[in-house]
Symmetry: C2
């Protein structure tokens, strides 16, 4: 029999938390086993202010043991994505053309994970959670299971030998409806999440991210708690 | 027979250039085949100003087609290294204790490579050069050949399928004397490089990086062209 005493040192997980729906549910999964160290990145995205507000509200909800907001705005300077380049438009068509979406931010997940792992290593955390999922985002190369397996090998070889961090992708095989259902089951604060790619005060309801979210709630048979533009 | 015409589109390589000796020589290797896009990062290191000055002087020398100076100062905020934490001291003993050196910056090379690859992807570059070498730095996990192999797999899986970037580590098996010799052979501007970990106007000659550099020049049988503190 294993006894868990009250003085047992809590385990910590770093959660990559954009403020969005997926990472909100990933945080709820992590919270079942870990104290949370919640990580947010500014990379020059249009919706930064809304994401930051959502991130902070979620961190308060989850009683995060630590938070870190980092500035990766060089990704915006580098460009190559409609999310950071204001001269490009965000797609609103329901069906995305095949190939890499224009919302792809070059090598974003590797940049996010690299920063989050550095923090996790200094904190002595045991896990890093990321809400990536592949079913609804088949065009993003850095959201696939094999990508995370490869990154785990870099982590194993590139960090201190005594660092034993595990990358968790609890949503990787869920679609948006499944993510909504899991979030509801775990009591995740879905109403505090922000998904819209645009930088307006209310979600647009038309960009590819809003459409995917609304479709997910509809398929799960529950209303989306956040307000949308009329 | 293959003819190279004047109108042939030049190939571009991104070079991770700290301003130091190793990356200066790596840039000289890259320059034989590529136009250079030179990348520098501020990560809160003590010697940032000296490194930046060296980086810019080297970029001018190599007639870099593009330069990018990015701010990764979250690495300094995260801490965990004597290079970024002013409460720690930089080691000056000639022999480092075994294990991970206190100059290890958590997961630094992955953070640097992630940013450099994002830029390379947007530029449409064909290669990324990094001056990492393992013989004189056996304690750094992210300077070993197997680490770069693992990172190459992340690059293959995490970037656009049409991105075919190769990570080059031309100095990986050279010691400092070998790096000095190669730099001299290629006409690298070694006098424009800065290695000292301290942030003083002249190199200290005592920190582990200065010692390694001076030993390398001595073993190569040439004087180090940069001035040192008396």
């Amino acid at each position: 029999m294993t006894l868990k005493t009250k003085n047992q040192k809590p385990k910590t997980a770093v959660v990559l938390a954009s403020g969005g729906l997926d990472s909100c549910v990933a945080a709820a999964v992590a919270r079942r086993e870990f104290d949370l160290a919640m990580f947010h990145a500014n990379y020059g995205q249009r919706s930064l202010e809304q994401e930051l507000e959502a991130f902070r509200a979620q961190a308060a909800f989850f009683q995060a043991a630590a938070t870190l907001e980092v500035d990766l705005n060089y990704l915006g300077v580098i460009g190559g994505s409609c999310l950071t380049d204001l001269d490009q438009t965000v797609p609103t068509g329901e069906v995305e053309p095949p190939g890499i979406p224009s919302t792809y931010v070059p090598f974003r997940n590797t940049n996010l994970l690299a920063a989050a792992v550095a923090w996790a290593e200094v904190l002595g955390a045991e896990a890093v959670f990321i809400g990536a999922n592949v079913l609804d985002n088949p065009g993003y190369p850095d959201c696939r299971p094999e990508y995370f397996e490869a990154f785990s090998r870099v982590l194993e070889l590139g960090a201190r030998p005594e660092t034993h961090l595990v990358i968790h992708t609890p949503l990787i095989h869920l679609d948006k409806a499944g993510i909504v259902r899991l979030g509801l089951k775990l009591g995740a604060p879905l109403g505090l999440s922000w998904s819209c790619y645009q930088g307006d005060l209310r979600a647009c309801g038309r960009c590819s991210s809003c459409r995917l979210r609304l479709k997910g709630f509809a398929a799960a048979g529950v209303p989306d708690p956040i307000p949308y533009q009329p």
